[in-house]
């Protein structure tokens, strides 16, 4: 007999998870377009949809009941609409609809951020993605004048390998989650609970270790800021004596202060990264011979 670790999931759970993954994999494989663009029979599609749905239902059976009614309701509302929007984004035939469904995904994600208490992130996501990026997408789609489905939409290259790889990844994630999960009825063995608590270390735990004496002061101060809700970040803080936050300060200012001190290099580096990507995209997208004003061709 192989000795199982303490937090190894129950065999019935494991069996259910394997069944879900296998059903989903077969269903997705059947739903993918034919490698050579041939038309698949209608029954194959129906079977594929059925199997994928069965896999989803089996996975859904692992869900715990939501903790609190209202927030749980909204969590599932936003979460499900984000997932549904994502599926429709990749399956819509019209690219314009894809872009609009993507906007739905973004809005739902913003809702999830809001539930997690990250108001600024929620607003930023809506402004940047739903506002700017989607509009750019729509302009590109309209200007590009796509007609009909592209070749890569009608056929899929090595669908078996793709399905296998992606479901293998999903399986390992499901397995990891099963190992960490506390079963529904609360009848989990004590070791499981303890190991879970040992595994996930909130920042406050680190802060306890760091305390006053240990570690470098800057990391201590960064940790202290990161456990504070955005609304309580104080832009006027004095790093040497971190006082209690004054709730009258507008919190975005506090967020900005944290970003441009604790994470200054990170912010600057993101700027460099985006700029480099922009320059590179233009360099690569140019035609073979870049058009330059030469002496031979008189330019305006």
């Amino acid at each position: 007999m192989i000795e199982m670790p303490d937090n190894f999931p129950a065999i019935s759970d494991l069996f259910r998870a394997i069944l879900a993954i296998v059903c989903g994999a077969i269903g997705t494989y059947l739903l993918l377009p034919h490698p050579h663009g041939r038309i698949k029979a209608r029954n194959v599609h129906i079977l594929g949809v059925g199997l994928t749905a069965l896999g989803l239902v089996l996975l859904a059976s692992f869900w715990n009941a939501p903790a609190s009614l209202i927030s749980g309701f909204f969590f599932y509302l936003f979460g499900l609409s984000a997932l549904g929007g994502a599926v429709l984004t990749v399956t819509s035939r019209n690219p314009v609809y894809s872009a609009l469904w993507f906007a739905a995904v973004v809005l739902s994600t913003a809702g999830l951020f809001l539930l997690a208490g990250a108001q600024f992130l929620a607003a930023g996501t809506i402004i940047v993605y739903a506002g700017a990026i989607i509009v750019t997408f729509l302009f590109v789609i309209m200007l590009a004048q796509m007609e009909g489905k592209a070749r890569y939409d009608r056929s899929s290259r090595s669908p078996a390998a793709a399905t296998f790889t992606s479901y293998l990844l999903l399986w390992s994630l499901v397995f990891a989650v099963l190992c960490l999960r506390v079963p529904v009825g609360g009848v989990s063995p004590a070791t499981n609970q303890a190991s879970l608590a040992n595994r996930l270390r909130p920042t406050t735990y680190l802060l306890d270790i760091y305390g006053g004496q240990m570690g470098s002061r800057s990391i201590n101060s960064v940790l202290r800021e990161s456990v504070r809700p955005t609304a309580l970040l104080d832009p006027r803080k004095d790093r040497s004596k971190v006082a209690d936050a004054d709730p009258t300060i507008p919190h975005v200012a506090g967020l900005g202060a944290t970003m441009f001190t604790d994470h200054l290099i990170t912010v600057e580096l993101s700027g460099i990264l985006l700029f480099v990507a922009l320059v590179g995209a233009i360099a690569i997208a140019q035609p073979k011979k870049p058009i330059r004003p030469t002496i031979a061709t008189p330019s305006a």
């Binding site: 240990m214 832009p235 441009f260 480099v276 320059v279 360099a283 690569i284």
Partner: protein, 564 residues
Amino acid sequence: MSPTLIPNMPSPHELLALLPAMILAVWGLVVLIVDFGVLRRSSSDRRQNFLGILTLFGVLVAMACSVVPILHRASPDQFPGVLNVNSSEPDLLVFFGTIASDSLTEWVNFILLGLLALTVGLSLSYHFTDQWGEYFALILWASVGMMLLAASEELLTLFLTLETMTICLYLATAIEKDRKRSAEGGLKYFVYGSVSSAMFLFGLSLVYGLTGSTRLEAIQVALSGSGTVLTGLEGNVAAAAAVLLVLVGFGFKIAAVPFHQWAPDAYEGAPAPVTAWVATGSKIASFVALIKVLVYGLGTWSSEPGTVTGPGWIGIVAVISAVTMTYGNFAALAQKNFKRMLAYSSIAHAGYMLVGVLAASVSTHPNEAAGTVLFYLVVYSFTNVGAFAVAAWIVRDRGTDEIADLNGLGHTYPGMAVCIVLLMLSLIGMPPLGGFFAKIAMFAEAMNNESSRGQVVLTWLVAIGLFNSVVSAFYYVRVLKAMFLRDVPEGVQPLGQPGRAISIPIVLGTLVALGTGIYPSILQSNMQGAAVHMLHPGKLETKTTSSSALQLVVPAQVALTPKS
């Protein structure tokens, strides 16, 4: 807004630590502006020469800035007024623990800038694109990514610098638009790279969830906080997933075996100078970051206390290392294309270096072991830049890069041929050359372990490594055979004069191989001194009292005369 709203301005010391990177970042813009401004009507050749020399000038300025702190550290009395940072001060983490500023980053910056200067010089050797402004700017910005990647002490910074580096390299790989191979190589590099980056980011986010911080020091404290130093991954599936995903990311960047598929195509497709930079610069930076994250940050997960074969990343890395060196060498045996052969050989070298990484993790002399990895990286990089200069020579005059194109080189250019012989012998690891001493020092450190922990595994790995070195001799010698035993083929245009752009990297690579072979101890001791900061970043003393903790962080408040 009143100035009180800005709590901490970066101190001059912090800015000085970033000076070489900042110079390169700004210089990339200057090159771009000059290309589209002053030179917009010039011919492509003129722009290549002018921008290349302009870029070289910026690199040399940054190099001068990076050499000052090294010299200062070596002899503090020599620079009383310029850089009055007392060398007895403990080394520092700057910018709230995100970037290291210690002798390791100074050395890595210096080495990277030296290699960058050779790469930029090599770019002047032949004409492979018309977009010179973008090309040189991308190469410069890739170097910014590499320098900061090696210096980063925080996962988010690490990821962003890694992306800056690789995005520039994807684009530079695809910049030769006249050849389809270039676009193919660039696309393969990009597709593999973006998938592995996504996995890497997922792994980093799991690490953050499991530890509560993105700072490497805090991660280390969180994992070993309860006193147990080694826990391994027994039963800890979330941590195992995190480690595996992080290994996917690093494995891609260093081209270790399950994630190596991009390397031969990207190396073959990219213009030779870009290949040189992908093979050397990105490897140095990735290895430094790999050692920092795995050996320092996630060291607690390396293995269980008694053994290394149990659950833990040491077992995984040992398997990857063995497979990487064996596969790389045997695949290289079958190659006829010079650049593909070098690509597989660089995969094999990554395998050797992983042995050193393991040694740094299990050995009782971790600093010495990590130092030999750095030493190996330096020797490997300079010899490889020389080897890719040979590839540039072939492609310039023949348009191909087959080993057979070197036929008869020993008769036409005996001086250059002897240099190439020395480069190849150093890559094999023949005794009087740097490659030998680097390899032998690394394997010796792997064996020099006073505790019995992991000794069996490391002995096996060293044995596989030595066997592989013998195998590697076969394909490197094919180059020598082509040069000396074959005649110049009839009716084919022979290789022309190498010119300065090609001969300087070859000769300099040879000199480094010879110099580190004759006096290995100078570089080795410096690298081992620098490696201390790779395994214990940001501190020299143990964190015991608050006063010493203050010294670690508060930058040396000394009069810094701004360099102009």
